[in-house]
């Protein structure tokens, strides 16, 4: 990754144009030809420096349900509980964290009313209390990484 790649990453974490030839338009602002910009973005995606080059959608505004939930899972059954939780397709992420509440997962459902049902099923399957922590207010999202 060279200085031009870093400039591309820093400049294009948003504001990519919606136009006939957006790479040409974005390239002009960076002093790059359309073809070079496309090639470099493809290289960054292939190398894994970018996870994608795409619109970032706002999950809740798509009409689905979303929450963060946590459980205090005894160490001796941690892997069993993780498997039970992860088996639900509505679980998008699940992280082990160092705390009494040691399992944290994001539930995303097509319909908002399905979140409570998924949490209730997980509580019944595991016999553990599930702490629901839905977002009440969002202050900021989307770190702009400087590289």
């Amino acid at each position: 990754m060279d200085q031009t790649d870093r400039r591309i990453i820093n400049a294009l974490q948003g504001g990519f144009p919606v136009s006939e030839r957006p790479f040409g338009d974005a390239g002009r602002a960076l002093g790059l030809e359309e073809e070079e910009l496309i090639g470099r973005i493809r290289g960054l995606v292939e190398a894994g420096a970018l996870s994608r080059f795409a619109p970032m959608y706002h999950a809740e505004r798509l009409g689905g349900g979303l929450t963060l939930a946590a459980m205090a899972v005894p160490e001796e059954c941690f892997d069993t509980v993780a498997a039970l939780v992860n088996a639900h397709p509505e679980i998008a992420h699940n992280y082990a964290r160092a705390h009494a509440l040691n399992m944290w997962f994001v539930v995303a459902t097509e319909r908002p009313e399905d979140v409570a049902r998924v949490l209730a099923v997980i509580a019944a399957e595991t016999g553990l209390e599930v702490y629901d922590m839905p977002k009440r207010e969002e202050f900021f999202i989307g770190l702009r990484f400087e590289v």
């Binding site: 919606v18 359309e34 973005i41 994608r52 959608y57 798509l62 993780a82 699940n94 590289v147």
Partner: protein, 158 residues
């Protein structure tokens, strides 16, 4: 807010725009839509906030930000919005949310995800947040992830 054509457009673009000179025309061709309609729908979704932004989504781990900690704060309720905005504006915080407490096990109502190149850098950032909040934070903690158990990303399906 979004109709079935928007949903098709979201499904066609959420993993990546075609990396070609006319990407929106390429998407339109795939979906059998007019390119002008594709661009008009994307502009409308940007205006209404359905699309947060369009562009490069960095893989922060690959870029050297290998440590992240979920910092959590017990902030006096009357000041949660004001303090949440201050914390969210810090450049090392990627997400900041007001969430419900579950006392006594979980007294925290403000969550701020902190990123750094190392665990020590994350801890230094957490101390900086403590300085910003001051005595309005009655307690705080930082939870480091020890294992990723599942990570699929949020996907619009069906």
């Amino acid at each position: 807010m979004i109709d079935t054509t928007d949903r098709r457009l979201i499904q066609a673009t959420q993993d990546g725009l075609p990396l070609v000179p006319h990407p929106y025309h390429a998407v339109a061709g795939t979906l059998g839509l007019d390119p002008e309609e594709v661009m008009a729908r994307l502009r409308r979704m940007l205006e209404t906030g359905v699309i947060r932004r369009i562009g490069a989504v960095p893989n922060h781990y690959a870029l050297g930000y290998r440590a992240n900690g979920m910092s959590v704060w017990d902030v006096v309720d009357e000041r949660i919005t004001e303090i949440g905005r201050q914390v969210g504006a810090l450049d090392f915080v990627s997400h900041a949310y007001h969430r419900p407490r579950h006392p006594p096990l979980w007294p925290y109502n403000l969550f701020a995800m902190v990123h750094g190149r190392s665990r020590d850098e994350v801890l230094a950032h957490v101390e900086a947040i403590a300085g910003v909040i001051g005595p309005a934070a009655r307690a705080h903690d930082v939870l480091f992830s020890t294992r990723i158990l599942k990570k699929t990303g949020l996907r619009l399906t069906g």
